[in-house]
Amino acid sequence: MNCFCSLLFDTASATVLAVVFLGLSVTTGFSQERQKILIEQYAEGRPIPVSVSGFTGEVASALKFDLEIAGFDIANGDAAQYEITGSNNGRLEGHVTDRISKAHVLDRAYEKGSARAQAHAFADDIVKTITGKPGIAQTKIAFKGETASGSEVYMADYDGHNAVALTKDGNLVAAPCWMPGRRVIYYTSYRLGNPDIYSYDLDSGARKIVARYSGLNTSAALSSDGRRIAMIMSKAGSPDLYVADADGTNLRQLTKTKEDESSPCWSPDGRTICFVSRAGGRAALYTIPAAGGTMQRLKTAGVSSPTEPDWSPDGKSIVFTSYSGASNFNICVVPAEGGEASVIAAGEDPSWAPNSRTVIFARRKAGKRVLSLLDVPTKRVKDAAQNMGSRSQPNWAK
């Protein structure tokens, strides 16, 4: 009897153990499978739900903003895939746990810097840990900001906070563009009574004139290796596309059309420039070899009047503005080789983030322009901070 009982007991417990083990592995296996699907689908626009608790004030608001624009949903309890908890009082402590596997995914403390900076650093670590992709919460933008005397060039955090004027020209500015990898910015300024292109090294303070020819000098765009610049200049009698070395020397004219070209951007491999021309009668996108050659139309099927293109850092897509009458400006994306264009959000003048996923753009609101952020895969839009006159022509530092 004892033998039998113990056998039964052994069998029973074995069975229970087996069932529990099986159950666990099924559950774990299934949730890991679900997790894996989410990570892959995240790139295509499926938001990852997370809960956030324990943080207060600016840290809480900045953290949630960063996660939402990164394509996460702030969810409650059971709906969350990950639990983000912690505290902040001068020092931010953050913990991320996978709610299904119960695994501790991230445990980190952040000291020094402002509360917002700590929140941004934590947000970037969360994004990197969960998705494997680098975050953008600690990146910078530049933009044109309206002032009493016209406009100046500003830089700010990517979310529009901590804006600082980079010029004090007391006139008009336009088209700021960062040199990739450097704290150097190029821009157009009318300070000498003509639209001329300047470069400004934020660290050395050196400010130089890059192009001051008669007529128009504008739309500076730096190649991704920072060595060359594309510009629009009318010195030869019509606004044409030029390339030069980053200091403005070795100038070469790439287009010689009778109509105007505008807003060039570089392919990340530096071989091709995409730009706008009215040479065909209406605004259209074109590409041309950066070394010179024939301009070729870039197909943007399904949308009208494409302008202000920007090439994604991963080389795959071109984001641009489409105008379709009245006050209808739309942010559109087309594959870099051309094709069907997709309307993503209402707005204009887009600039890619280094992650080739987020875009900053301007939109018209109550008689002025404000800057907004767009997560392209989810089409989520969030306005950046706005505490002054019109902000427009944003450019994302890469």
Binding site: S151, L172, A174, A175, G181, T188, L192, G193, N194, P195, D196, A206, K208, I209, V210, A211, R212, Y213, S214, G215, L216, T218, S219, D225, G226, R227, R228, I232, S234, K235, G237, S238, P239, G248, T249, N250, L251, R252, E259, D260, S262, S263, G270, V276, R278, A283, P289, A290, A291, G292, G293, S305, T307, T321, Y323, S327, F329, E348, D349, Q393
Partner: protein, 206 residues
């Protein structure tokens, strides 16, 4: 015999190389930097750029085929410095502001008499110069409008040159959509913003 032949080929090859190198050293066409244009190379970078594999042909450019023509003096804009030190009069040709069709830079037939009026005045006052300012309405993106405004100013300038005004007397500037004449979101406002304005430039009294 063979040696002589090889030597011959070497000499020919050397001469060709010298000629080719000589041609490449001819340099860019007439480029007129204006005051303030950089004349010295910037200092060494603090942060060296990562090594980059240059795509073939970068920095060399495509060699043009056909004959080079001398630049058309009518088309090229004059030097900015020739226009420094002059007084601007915005009122003189206020009635002659030229208006443009949406997304177009051509001078409309209905506007031509205004340009002719300005040309007549300039012919009678040879020490005066002119600035044509190009503008756009808000129905375009900013850099697109900056280029379109410049194209409009250049169209007016071209028309004046064809009427006999010296190219060196006319300068252009575009303000894109930055300086509207009329605020508003309808065609009555927009039509007044798509314009070319004339600013008469007078030499400063001695």
């Amino acid at each position: 015999m063979k040696v002589a032949r090889i030597l011959n080929l070497l000499v020919v090859g050397f001469v060709c190389a010298v000629v080719i190198v000589g041609c490449q050293r001819k340099g860019p066409k007439n480029v007129t930097p204006i005051l303030g244009a950089p004349t010295t190379a910037p200092g060494p970078d603090e942060t060296p750029f990562p090594p980059v594999e240059n795509p073939p042909g970068v920095g060399q450019g495509e060699k043009p085929t056909g004959k080079d023509l001398p630049p058309d003096p009518k088309a090229l804009p004059p030097n900015l410095e020739d226009f420094g030190n002059m007084l601007g009069d915005r009122q003189k040709f206020k009635e002659q502001t030229v208006y443009f069709d949406f997304d177009r830079a051509a001078v409309r037939p209905s506007e031509k008499s205004k340009v002719e009026f300005v040309a007549t005045y300039l012919k009678g006052n040879p020490t005066n110069k002119l600035r044509v300012e190009g503008h756009c309405d808000e129905r375009g993106t900013e850099e697109y409008n900056r280029a379109l405004g410049e194209r409009r100013a250049l169209s007016v300038r071209e028309y004046l040159i064809n009427l006999g005004i010296g190219a060196d007397r006319i300068i252009t500037i575009s303000y894109g959509e930055d300086r509207p004449a009329v605020q508003g979101q309808d065609e009555s406002a927009w039509s007044k913003n798509r314009r070319g304005e004339f600013v008469l430039l007078l030499p400063k009294p001695q």
